[in-house]
Symmetry: C2
Subunit: 199 residues, 2 copies
């Protein structure tokens, strides 16, 4: 069935993400993608000049979705602690919705073959770090967080928490909710960071 280019492009990008999760990013061949959407392999090259540019489209779509989710998280929360919770919750949801993300970070495609792809992800991670840092800084200035740990280190602890639980989830059987588990651990960590002795 013939489709318009825009539709087909979106379909291809989504299929790449699905396949990346199912069989691993580096096993996503043009043949596999084409077979999944019942089109010949050569048809893909009508829509993307090369496989690398196809991956770049995937990265750009992911970057947009993530940026939008962070924006929404920040808008919907008041105070540093709530915003940290919202930001990390958004990130966990994003990973749960796109399970290929963690593996993609370590894929050959990103790390070896495709410099542009790597650039997009690096920029996104740096942005997330900066957003968290601003909130942690606020929290320490308002004496909500213990002041004796550098804000930068706190951010690394928080992002590590996300990565750690995401890895356990992605490499394991995914038999627990990434969002729930992540938020439970985050609450524990926030309790440790808090200056309020009662909680």
């Amino acid at each position: 069935m013939r489709k318009r280019a825009e539709l087909r492009k979106a379909e291809i990008v989504q299929t790449v993400l699905d396949l990346a999760d199912q069989i691993g990013p580096d096993r996503v061949t043009t043949n596999a993608v084409a077979g999944e959407i019942d089109v010949t392999q050569a048809a893909l090259f009508r829509h993307f000049p090369s496989k690398a540019t196809l991956w770049q489209s995937v990265a750009e779509q992911l970057a947009e979705t993530m940026a939008a989710a962070w924006e929404a998280a920040l808008q919907g929360a008041d105070g540093p602690e709530a915003r940290i919770l919202a930001l990390i919750g958004a990130q966990l949801s994003q990973i749960e919705a796109t399970p290929a993300l963690p593996m993609l970070l370590f894929s050959r495609e990103l790390n070896v073959e495709n410099d542009a792809l790597r650039g997009v992800f690096r920029t996104q991670l740096a942005r997330f770090h900066a957003l968290l840092l601003a909130e942690v800084d606020q929290a320490q200035k308002q004496a909500l967080f213990r002041p004796d740990i550098p804000a930068d280190d706190v951010v690394v602890l928080l992002t590590s928490l996300v990565q750690g639980v995401a890895i356990r989830w992605a490499l394991g059987k995914r038999d627990f909710s990434l969002l729930d588990t992540g938020l439970r651990l985050l609450n524990a960590q926030l309790r440790l960071l808090s200056t309020d002795e009662r909680i």
Copy 2:
């Protein structure tokens, strides 16, 4: 130059690890390995019946080294906190000495192609988790650690710390000491976990 099988085997295994770091685990082809040690590609199959068994040898060697490092860490430290420091220090050193380790965890080779390889790594990670859990349990029983966070969650926070800082190091420019940075963050986290208010 002709070498004895045992020497050659060890050389091949080491070359696989080196190349896995330099070009990524999934780019380690038999041709690349052979070229690195100035031997024809076919010679590799004198020593390993298949590429999969070659990777298994790599995994076994890594598993042995790690187990020995953990053993030494536990022997040389007194008290739960010191043992946690030693265990995680050993793990950070191991990653720094074998930078391919984090990427290997997410490689196609491990996750898709080679079930035996995946088994070895899963077992190792579970062991590390268990070792840490025993120490955290002790620390809470001796009232060195806050009792209000489940020991299992504390272990996840600690292993996440290792993974998080290792990822930053492996995917970045490696322009900081993994061991130093990891231990600095670990000390911060241990301070947060401690019941002693003075530190």
